[in-house]
């Protein structure tokens, strides 16, 4: 089974607005998701400059951007993708 790819934007705006803490996402994943997700950092995705996308921090889950990302919101999105 292919894994769900989560990319955490570590561009400066996202970092300041909370992505620095999201870097610990792996630790907060529920046990049943741990081997189904691949997490990586991403250079600035540029989403913070586009007002259509909402507010930082941004992550993408299988390519789909998620604004105002929190651990819970990311987990929900991962479940949607599975």
């Amino acid at each position: 089974m292919s894994k769900v790819h989560v990319k955490i934007c570590v561009g400066t705006t996202c970092f300041v607005m909370g992505a620095s803490e999201l870097q610990d996402l792996e630790k907060f994943l529920p046990d049943d998701l741990k081997d189904k997700v691949e997490i990586s950092g991403a250079a600035c995705l540029g989403l913070c400059r586009d007002e259509n996308y909402g507010e930082a921090p941004f992550v993408t889950v299988d390519g789909e951007p998620l604004s105002n990302a929190t651990v819970n919101a990311i987990v929900d999105k991962i479940r949607e993708k599975l």
Partner: protein, 484 residues
């Protein structure tokens, strides 16, 4: 240490907006509208209603302009006029923290609470063990009579259901020196500035975001705008605060308008050399103990609460002071800005002639975001000064001790070096302040004591943005890198 929470997000978002408007030259016209933009009509409120949210946002902006909220005499004075005041001032305030009464939740001061886990049991050990007879069982539930309760906590220890809990007042619990208290007459929380060490722990602890620090961001932006040589003196903890290398941070700072970046690690080298000399002199001179002097919240704690420790504090200046001195010698017209994770540095800088302003990592991050500068996307530029690895390690707990040992090794064996028996305090809390008293009386072992007010060292500072564990790794990695 600043963890992810809504209070931090709102504060950072607000800072970014403020700096963006300043940059466009429209801050004066727009500042009074910002609270309305952030909490528009029909929006969800974080507090009781959007009107209160807006009031709190207004005061936050006032603090960001560098104005103490307690100085307000005219409630209807618009932020644009406070902005004018900020533009006119020549020096920032030396009082740093304020309690924002509108945001303060006036947490209950009685510390013990019977929760609904109480089953009104038959044995009722809480009523029997209460020394003041303050607990009665009414309608099948234990009740504490707060007029009689003396906060001893016996009831929590004896309840078989753990149904009685201790509810702290977070700011009071976090303050190592009891400087934040309730004024019984007005029932308001206030900071006793005679006792306050500006450590900033109350600010991080308050879940209502009711403790504000006065920013100097306007003063710094003004100096940059005026075309002055504004030098960014970055604390060693900056590694790990942004995704990107030191060279990239230097480039980002230049892009933001700073003349150049100087690592405060440069001053940390000098602090280490002085501390080593000081230590050797003291030990050869029948000294018993020397403590570090680089943490301003610790030094303020000593001055205000443990004066008997003062003779043991090293006479070495702090890395910030040596760095600022060096910069001013090289460029007398420079405006020096210390950039770090620390609230107490504002206090230290207000007493240091060579350091003009202090900026926090949070403010720098907001500035980069407002200027749309992505640190990791910058080309790395070559750093002007060579700095020893150990000096970059100052930002973590035990980092100063490691630097001292390293420097001592260099002097050996040409010189007879007294043995260093080191101890450390990693984070000042109420218990650690008591420990300091014992150290001063010679009742605890060791002849060298490193004290850092923040847990984990500067990387755990109240205005840091990097995640502490990862920031610590980053600092240590750089400190261990062989010199180029």
């Amino acid at each position: 240490m600043a963890t992810a929470n809504d209070a931090n997000k709102v504060r950072r978002g607000l800072l970014i907006k403020l700096i963006k408007e300043y940059r466009k030259g429209t801050l004066r016209e727009t500042i009074d509208r910002i609270p309305y933009q952030m909490r528009p009509k029909n929006d969800e409120s974080s507090r009781c209603c959007i009107y209160k949210d807006r009031a709190v946002l207004k005061y936050r902006l006032m603090a960001m302009l560098g104005i103490g909220v307690e100085t307000e005499t005219d409630e209807s004075k618009p932020l644009s006029e406070y902005y004018d005041d900020a533009e006119k001032r020549e020096k920032p305030d030396s009082d740093i923290l304020s309690v924002l009464d509108v945001a303060c939740s006036h947490c209950i001061t009685s510390r013990y609470l019977v929760t609904n886990a109480c089953r009104g049991c038959f044995a009722r050990p809480c009523t029997f063990n209460c020394p003041k007879n303050a607990i009665k069982v009414i309608d099948g539930q234990a009740r504490i009579d707060y007029n009689l309760c003396i906060d001893c906590g016996k009831c929590t220890q004896v309840c078989p259901f753990h149904a009685i809990i201790r509810v702290p007042v977070p700011c009071e619990e976090a303050c190592p020196v009891n400087a934040i208290r309730r004024d019984e007459k007005t029932d308001r929380q206030y900071i006793d500035f005679e006792a306050c060490t500006s450590c900033g722990k109350c600010m991080t602890a308050c879940p209502f975001g009711a403790i504000l620090e006065r920013s100097q961001i306007i003063d710094i932006l003004n100096a940059i705008k005026a075309g002055k040589d504004v030098v960014a003196m970055v604390a060693p903890a900056i590694v790990g605060q942004f995704a990107g290398s030191l060279g990239q941070i230097a480039s980002a700072l230049k892009k933001a308008g700073f003349a150049k970046m100087v690592e405060v690690a440069l001053g940390a080298e000098m602090t280490t050399e002085h501390e080593v000399k000081d230590f050797i002199d003291r030990m050869n001179d029948d000294g018993t103990l020397m403590t570090t002097s680089c943490c301003p919240a610790y030094v303020e704690t000593v001055k205000r609460h443990v004066p008997e420790m003062l003779p043991f504090v090293s006479g070495a200046k702090t890395p910030m002071q040596y760095t600022a001195e060096t910069v001013k010698q090289e460029t007398p017209n420079a405006i020096t800005v210390f950039i770090g994770p620390c609230v107490a540095k504002r206090k230290e800088a207000s007493e240091d002639n060579n350091t003009d302003y202090v900026m926090t990592f949070e403010e720098l991050g907001a500035m980069f975001a407002a200027y749309e500068i992505d640190v990791a996307g910058e080309p790395a530029i070559k750093l002007e000064h060579d700095v020893k690895g150990y000096a970059r390690g100052f930002a973590t707990s035990c980092g100063v001790s490691a630097a001292i040992l390293e420097e001592m090794k260099k002097l050996h064996p040409e010189m007879d070096i007294p043995e260093l028996k080191g101890n450390f305090i990693n984070g000042l809390d109420k218990k650690a302040v008591k420990q300091l008293k014992l150290y001063a009386q010679g009742k605890l072992p060791g002849n060298f004591l490193e004290v850092m007010a923040c847990e984990g060292g500067c990387v755990g500072g109240p205005c840091a943005i990097g995640q502490v564990r990862l920031a610590t790794q980053a600092v240590k990695k750089l400190a261990e890198e062989p010199p180029k």
